[in-house]
Structure formats: C-alpha cells, structure tokens
Symmetry: C2
Subunit: 178 residues, 2 copies
C-alpha cells in the first residue's frame, strides 16, 4: 500500500495550472471549502494579511478582464479570487508577501482537492493593480493587489491535448548540504 | 466515508508550528521527499527562485543560532532548511517573494506528511540576514535570506501540554462576494 506521505506528495505534485474551463456551476460550499484551505496558511506573527474579493458576477468579470491579457481565462472561470494584501494588518513587507504566497498556494491546493476543478494563478494583472483597486473602490493606501486565482471545471479535452511536460529544477540544482 | 477533499483539508488544517523536538535521526530520503514537496511549488514565470542550505552539522547550527533569539529551536532541530532568494533568477520582486512563500508552505506540508515529524518557520532571523550570508560565504548581491525551517521529531509530551487553541480569522472577516 502506498504510504500516507507519498499520497500527499502525489497530491501536491499533481497540481498544475489549468487555463481551459467548461461552464459548470460551483456551489458556495465548495468555494468556502477552498477558502478554508487558504485560511489555515501560516503568516508572520499570524497576522493573516489577506483580503479576497470573490467574483462570480459576469459584469464584474467583464470589467476585470480589461486589465490583463489573460482576460479570457477570467471570463471563462466560474469564479475568480482577487487577492489583496491588507496593509492595515501589515507587519513586515517581505513576510507579508511570503504569507500571501503561502495563502495562494493553499487556495490552489484547495481547488486541486475538489474533483473536476482546476485553477491558475494570474500575476500579470499586477501591471494594472491601481485599476483593479478602482474597480472595487478600494483604498490604494490600504489594499495592494497580489494576484488572481481563476477557478473552473477543467476542460479535459483541451487540457489533455495541450499537455506539456511540466518542468522543475532538480533538487541538486538548488541545495547545498552542511 | 470521508471524501478525498475533506481528507486533504484536514491534512492542511492540522499542520501547525512545532517548536519542541526530541533527538531522532532523519534520513536523507525523508529530507529529499520534503524538498520534493517544495520543488513543485508554483512561481512567477516558473522561475523557481529558491536556494536551500540544509544544515545538519552541529557546528554550523551553533554558529547559526547566534543570529536569532530562536537559536535553541535551531539547535534542537535535527535539520534546518535555510531558504534564500536567488536574485539571479529574479523576475519581479513581489512575485519572487510570493513564490518563496508558496515554496516554504510546501516544505512545511512536506514535513507534516512525515509521521512523527514537525517544523516551524522562523522569520525573525531576517533581522540578521547579512550575518547568515557571511556564515555561508554567500554573495549579498545575489542571495537574500528568506527564512529558516527547523525540522525534528515532535516532542509530544511538551507539545501536548503547551497546546494552545490555534486561531485564524473567520472567512467572513476577509472576503467580499461579487
């Protein structure tokens, strides 16, 4: 029997970016479960400096898509999680941003845990972060856009066809033993 | 039967900081499996900007402990993972640091997947990041200390006694629905 640790490794290793979705409703309970994964992320001094706008409304998606070249992914995703750093909860900029990274990775794992669902993390939209704040009428001094997670039902036909080998540096390439 | 997604949620949710260890050898294969979790973390443009110094040697731990008030944890951990940002692989500072956060969270999950092992992420050592570079003779221009993950066999007696309720903001506190 496969050991438990290998099962969790396979879970983490098999997560990948999904950019092709088919329309299928995602229930609120599922979205809440995904957020629950994020909620338990670690952060410096446990400050949990995240804020999330959950976008399902088609008009909001249409406005949002103007601010990134990946707009078609935002539009085809059933739900988009717009993640901001809440600077009022700030503690140390480097640690805050690391905490946001851990939070977003947990959200991606939360999506991956749901049968049939997939997600992609869009960072390119940071080029227009001020515009995204305007759209949500969010104070620029307080909130800083950190990324968007687009979530939907995986379009298996396209994803299988476009399957490229996923690449990572071998461990020996980034470690030194002492 | 518990659903698969609930099992993974429980895995992610039950991970917590462990600061009390008993001495017990951790085999190289186990350390490599933990690094394998990290290796599959997402990063902006897949730049994987991480570098890790794996510290098992007691003399190196003794030198390292001078640079943080959590030195006793570093000393009692069987292995410490010293994580640096490799600026030569840099792409965008915010996204690089988010990627490091995702990487470190994956490492913590990798430890949590190993029966009996626990870990804590130490960020306070960043206050003396230049000294840590000196210790490893690492170019300050190229490598920036991002944190340390201390790993060891959980001292269950102490951890159970010192069990505090773990706290996170409720989801409603950080989301807005659109």
């Amino acid at each position: 029997m496969e050991s438990e640790s290998k099962k969790y490794l396979e879970f983490v290793r098999s997560r990948k970016s999904i950019r092709n979705f088919i329309f299928s409703k995602i229930y609120k309970d599922t979205i809440l479960e995904i957020l629950e994964f994020g909620r338990w992320a670690p952060s410096g001094a446990n400050n949990q400096p995240w804020r999330v706008h959950i976008v399902i409304n088609e008009k909001v998606k249409t406005m949002l898509k103007e601010h990134t070249k990946y707009g078609s992914i935002i539009e085809s995703a059933y739900v988009n999680l717009i993640v901001f750093l809440d600077k009022e909860k700030s503690y140390d900029r480097v640690k805050d941003i690391q905490g946001i990274g851990a939070f977003m990775q947990n959200l991606l794992l939360g999506v991956h845990a749901q049968p049939g669902l997939g997600a992609v993390w869009i960072g390119e939209i940071l080029n227009q972060k001020e515009r995204v704040n305007e759209l949500f009428k969010l104070d620029l001094e307080r909130y800083e856009l950190m990324g968007v997670i687009c979530i939907g039902e995986v379009d298996k036909a396209i994803e299988q066809r476009s399957q490229k080998a996923r690449e990572r540096r071998p461990i020996d390439d980034f470690v030194e033993w002492y």
